[in-house]
């Protein structure tokens, strides 16, 4: 998994590339907790390069969403690949996240 970060229009955009699974999900969790500790209130996960996610990864997404909602912050997702979008549909995650086609749409929403 590769994580990279940038700031655009008040959002911290975290680009998540590769696979998020049982072996490495804690890396994503650690990075998210860092951002939350910095009181970031607008997060966008760019999932264009996300090729695989298992329940461990989905749990991190869900935990992040719960925490952002608790602090009245915002978590958006964008650019989900079709196979990942399908996993989100199956698990009911599509309805609990705001998902955009790309970064531009997300930051101007």
């Amino acid at each position: 998994m590769k994580l990279s970060e940038k700031r655009v229009d008040g959002f911290v955009i975290l680009q998540i590339e590769g696979r998020v699974n049982t072996a490495n999900y804690h890396e994503l969790e650690t990075k998210v907790n860092e951002l939350l500790a910095q009181a970031e209130n607008k997060l966008l996960f760019n999932c264009q390069g996300l090729e695989y996610i298992s329940s461990s990864g989905l749990r991190v997404f869900l935990m992040t969403q719960k925490k952002m909602m608790q602090r009245q912050g915002v978590l958006y997702l964008c650019a989900l690949q079709p196979t990942i979008a399908e996993i989100f549909d199956i698990s009911g995650f599509t309805r609990i996240f705001k998902i955009f086609a790309n970064e531009a749409e997300a930051v101007t929403a």
Binding site: N21, L58, I90, S91, I96
Partner: protein
């Protein structure tokens, strides 16, 4: 006579790192059996979910255990059979999460088994002596 039956057996140890090692073997298998990409992703996901549950929850000692995975592709049906000697655990008896709950109310756990049940067509479990036997099948387009 069966037509083009393909079968393989893998064995892994009860360590999380073994899941990645198995995924590499599955990649080779997917090519050899000419399975579509989407199916190979599903296979990896289902195996990761089932095996990580076993590795994390089935064993109460610190010994090394072997988990066997048998896979067969025959007449458009993919079959996966996972056998372990951990404590009795029936994943089909776990209550499915309510996927209509809003984020604040969604519990964190229970997703892995749910994903298996949505991806595979049939999930069957039996306890056989000191073994858990999980059988997963899915009709595939060959």
């Amino acid at each position: 006579m069966e037509n083009n039956a393909k079968e393989i057996t893998f064995s892994i140890k009860n360590q999380v790192e073994e899941i990645a090692r198995l995924a590499e073997e599955i990649e080779v298998l997917v090519e050899a059996w000419e399975l579509p990409m989407r199916l190979s992703m599903n296979i990896n996901l289902v195996l990761e979910e089932a095996l990580s549950n076993i590795i994390f929850y089935a064993f109460e000692d610190t010994s090394e255990h072997t988990i066997d995975i048998f896979m067969a592709l025959e007449q458009s049906q993919l079959e996966i059979r996972i056998t372990d000697d951990g404590k009795a655990f029936d994943p089909t008896a776990v209550q499915q999460p309510d996927i209509n709950l809003p984020a604040e109310e969604r519990p964190i756990g229970g997703l892995g088994i749910f994903l298996i049940s949505k991806i595979m067509d049939v999930v069957e479990y039996c306890r056989d002596g000191d073994r858990n036997r999980l059988r997963l099948t899915k009709m595939v387009q060959e």
